[in-house]
Amino acid sequence: MRMTYREALRTALTEALSADPRVFLMGEDVGRYGGAYAASKGLLEQFGPDRVRDTPLSESAFVGAGIGAALGGMRPIVEVMTVNFSLLALDQVVNSAATLRHMSGGQLSVPLVVRMATGGGRQVAAQHSHSLEGWYAHVPGIRVVAPATAHDARWMLPAALREPDPVFIFEHAMLYPEEGEVGEEPGPLPLFAAAIRRPGRDVTVIAHGGSVGKALAAAEQLATEGIEAEVLDLRSLRPLDDATILESVRRCHRAVVVDEGWRSGSLSAEIASRISEGAFFELDAPVARVCSAEVPIPYPKHLEDTALPQPDGICAAVRGVLQPAQAAGAKA
């Protein structure tokens, strides 16, 4: 059935709270306000204040409390309003959630789900627009996923709740009102597998979250030029589904990585590097990247649009890898 990404999340949250008494939701304005992005609207009324808990603006305390509650046998879902604010809780994420199992010699388990919005495009300026999920994907001990479709918004949450380790779900802020088809069942794809969203043969365009739609738009445009781009949705940022990425690149022989994070030290760098390590001799051109400009994301629309990856830029990068000789020559 068709529903918005936001409705898909709400459906998933409702089901999770109904299905398991250990599940509860906490975060800033998740209750009476209904969630900053309205994902939890109505849940306080349905499940009561013990299970839908409004927290103070104390990211470190309530993310840490989520970890503690998971240690204590609960299955908390913690909503942090945006990734930008989650930096206040990074200590708990990196030093506690990610370390406790290993550092305790396997005694402790942190079955915690943390959801947060990420990404730009809404003209809310630098402190509300960054895409820092790549930082989280750097950390062993946690899992990181990014639903790009309403179907994944619906079905990644229950799968994440079944994991015995902390799972971070990054929801691109532009996706909440997007409508999509949501299946009655989760489907065959495991939580940590990549998906081919559009098959192609000339180039693999690798994206995640809010960039998948842009990659698909670019592929539409390129098809009119006779270029068949394959669009790969990473879905999982940690672990990365190397097998699916490399299989696609070996088939298409060219790759463009789209990442709303900054280019330097980014997830796109990691993916390009893995392609070099795993498919170097299959490549007909160097891997190209389309990332956010290396600036704090600015407020005015024309500057923000320029700073973020856009379909036109993806098309240009694809054309570039299809003509490596000319592109290299032009650069030289």
Binding site: R51, R53, A69, D91, S96, M103, S104, G141, A243
Partner: protein
């Protein structure tokens, strides 16, 4: 060498002299074990058997023993990086604690954590947190889980005076109080955040006053007096157990040794340390027990010999332990392995 006035002692009344011989034996025995165990650990550090950081609680034993005596097996404990005393008082096998200090696979945390990260989930001992104040939110969460499940237990959370400067202290006190959670916040105030004296890092040096802003009832106690501390912890724990919400107990104590193993102690004077050593919690308790005719000198000497023997057995256990196979390096990063990172 900095010269400072000795910090003020709390104005709590001395505990009454009433203690039975069995309890006295138990508490003094535990305090002696912690003392001898840590003295041995310091020797082993010099001998190269223990590496990394090693934070000794020598001087602070009364707080460990008194606090944990007030808890039940169902209660949770969240600790700090200076936690050998907490672990031993909680009843972790001394051998497993020593082996952890060695980094051996028979250590409490399979050697993965070392001195700062001792865990025992069966004893509800949630470690060993080396991020100052990092344990406080975890304690709030453990208490929240107990509230929601529900499970009748409280969570005791140790932290030092340094933690009071962290946002997590303030966030956690507020959240625990807002939600009336059963957390006993136990501040081991040893007057130094590593090398920075309390009055050099806090505008308000009376830590027990800080609970008021969050409506957390708070008391300060002389942490060198095991009986006074035990009675204060018992009262605080009872209040938390009754469902009244969190409690902040500030135990004023002092570490006699360096912050970690290599520390020239430029930040405090020898006179100050000597002044505090005159209030050595073991010597004070021992004198009270002997003077009150509760334990004879011979019985106390026997307890000390036993502490030394248990320590020696712990060392033998650690020495006999195996190193974890290198092949297990990545084990337990996650519960299950996936093909790629």
């Amino acid at each position: 060498m900095a010269t400072r006035e000795a910090p003020p002692l709390p104005k709590t009344p001395a505990a009454s002299g009433a203690i039975d011989a069995a309890t006295a034996r138990s508490w003094l025995g535990q305090m002696l074990l912690i003392r001898r165990f840590e003295e041995k650990a310091a020797e082993l550090y010099s001998a190269g058997k223990i590496r990394g950081f090693l934070h000794l609680s020598i001087g602070e034993e009364a707080v460990s023993v008194a606090a944990i005596a007030a808890l039940t097996e169902a209660d949770n404990i969240v600790s700090t990086y200076r936690e050998h005393g907490h672990a031993l008082a909680r009843g972790l096998p001394p051998g497993a604690v020593m082996a952890e200090l060695y980094g051996k696979a028979n250590g409490a945390s399979r050697g993965r954590g070392g001195s700062m990260h001792i865990f025992d989930v069966g004893r509800r001992f949630y470690g060993g947190n080396a991020i100052v104040a990092g344990g406080l939110p975890l304690a709030v969460g453990l208490a929240l889980a107990d509230r929601l499940r529900p499970r009748p237990a409280i969570t005791a959370c140790f932290f030092g005076d340094g933690a009071v400067a962290e946002g997590e202290f303030h966030e956690s006190l507020n959240l625990a109080s807002l939600w009336k959670l059963p957390v006993l916040f136990l501040c081991e105030n040893n007057y130094y955040a590593m090398g920075t004296a309390l009055d050099r890092h806090q505008a308000e040096t009376d830590i027990s006053l800080k609970g008021g802003a969050y409506r957390v009832p708070s008391v300060a106690v002389d942490g060198m007096d095991v009986m006074a501390t035990a009675s204060a912890v018992r009262a605080a724990a009872e209040q938390v157990r009754s469902g009244a919400g969190p409690f902040l107990l500030e135990c004023r104590t002092y570490r006699f040794r360096a912050h970690s193993m290599y520390d020239p102690e430029l930040y405090r004077s020898k006179e100050e340390v000597e002044q505090w050593k005159r209030r050595d919690p073991i010597a004070l308790f021992r004198a009270r027990l002997e003077g009150g005719g509760i334990l004879a000198a011979a019985a106390i000497e026997a307890l000390d010999r036993e502490a030394r023997a248990v320590t020696d057995q712990a060392v033998a256990f650690a020495e006999a332990g195996e190193w974890e196979p290198v092949a297990d390096l990545l084990k337990d990063v996650y519960a299950r392995e996936l093909p790629c990172g």
